[in-house]
Amino acid sequence: MRKPRYAVAAMAAAAALTLSACGGGDEASDDTGSEAASDSIRIGIKFDQPGLGFDEGGEYSGFDVDVAKYVAAELGYEEDQIEFVEAPSANRENLLSTGEVDMIFATYSITDERKETVDFAGPYFVAGQDLLVRADDEEITGPEALTGKNLCSVAGSTSAARINEEFGADANLVEQPGYAECVSLMGGGQIDAVTTDDIILAGLASQEANAGNFKVVGNPFSEENYGVGLPKGSDMCEDINAAIVQMIDDGAWEDAIMANTEGADYSYNEELNPPEPDACA
């Protein structure tokens, strides 16, 4: 008889949370002295990207999460006031424009097309497309060395196609629903390299199950400016940029990267990092 009671309690708690999230917006910011505009802040992150945004049974970890927490703290939100929401790539613009989330930290590259629907603060990191290979692979040193090799990336991303188009390599592309499948195929020996942004690869390689098996080649060949997604017309951009600059200056930024890529033999591109946030529009 215990379990049902927990379930009822959990449902009641969930209902209360939902209700407070809906109704508490307006009359909150008075006597606490904080500059927060409401009781809580909803932040969109990835739940399936180890090292960046990862859900381990309700505990969220990763670089995106760390930056999000730092920025939220600067905006006046305690850690228990942050509500993390899953923001899959295809749904990011929707989450922002419908007000489901207040901001998004989810390997969200700043592009002109996206600026049509959403605003960006940052960038807070400049990633580059790179390759993940088996730790003992000395042959694959960059995109040009991939001719005849089997290359895996996630369905719907152009990162795999870019290798054949821009670098003239004649690699065999395997498109999988997620990077976990790619890594599993590489473990099985059918795949020679996985490609996407370097920091995502580093996160994958530093996962406990993979530690020591794979390495990031370290020859990035594109520039992805990870920004903070905001609803169009948001007034938070300046404050977020200030928080990012402060995070970089006080060393927390560097620490977060190191902690989240441990064991992957990864170093970020120092020519482009740490980035200087763009002026807010």
Partner: protein, 224 residues
Amino acid sequence: MDNFLSLFETYDVAGAFWVNIQLTFWAAIWSFILGTILALMRISPIASLQWFGAAYVNIFRNTPLTVIIAFGVLGLWGQLNVVLAEDFQVNFLRLAILGLSIYHAAFVCEAIRSGVNTVPLGQAEAARAIGLSFLPAARLVILPQALRGAVAPLGNVLIALTKNSTVAFAGSVVESSNLMKEMIEFRGDLVIPIFFVFAMGFVIIVVPIGLLTTWLSKKLAVAR
């Protein structure tokens, strides 16, 4: 509007749908063959074959298609090195067709069995009475009549198959749902028009199938 039309220049929408049509075409043929054999097993007088047919249907009808397709790539190809074609991409296309066929064969089998139920028992008894054994009786007497009654349910299976061909993305086949993901990823400003294009694409493919099978089932229906 110009923005929207530029989508069609950048992305090969028709090419992506063509992959779905190919998947559907081949999987329809293979699942029909396999499904017919399974239906024969289920109505055969041999208990072990009946059992096998029933087990097949229950296993594959109840396994998610995504799992079957993913197994094709991660299991058959990834771990067991099964290669169905010399060409790298054609290999995945065939693995996906295999998965789609295995899954839909269970539904084809049940559709045909429902058709068999429309054939009066006297037909089978008459076939046996003139000395036909099980297989000739099924081929000459029961199946031709059963298929007439099964046109509408088979049409439903074909429509489901057409739409399920999008699951092939899980098996590394670049088809329309892949392209849709890619377009949404890079053109988040046009999410609704993109969804509309792909929804309409499937409506255009599926509506004729529905019209054809409705017409056929009426034309072939046996007035009893």
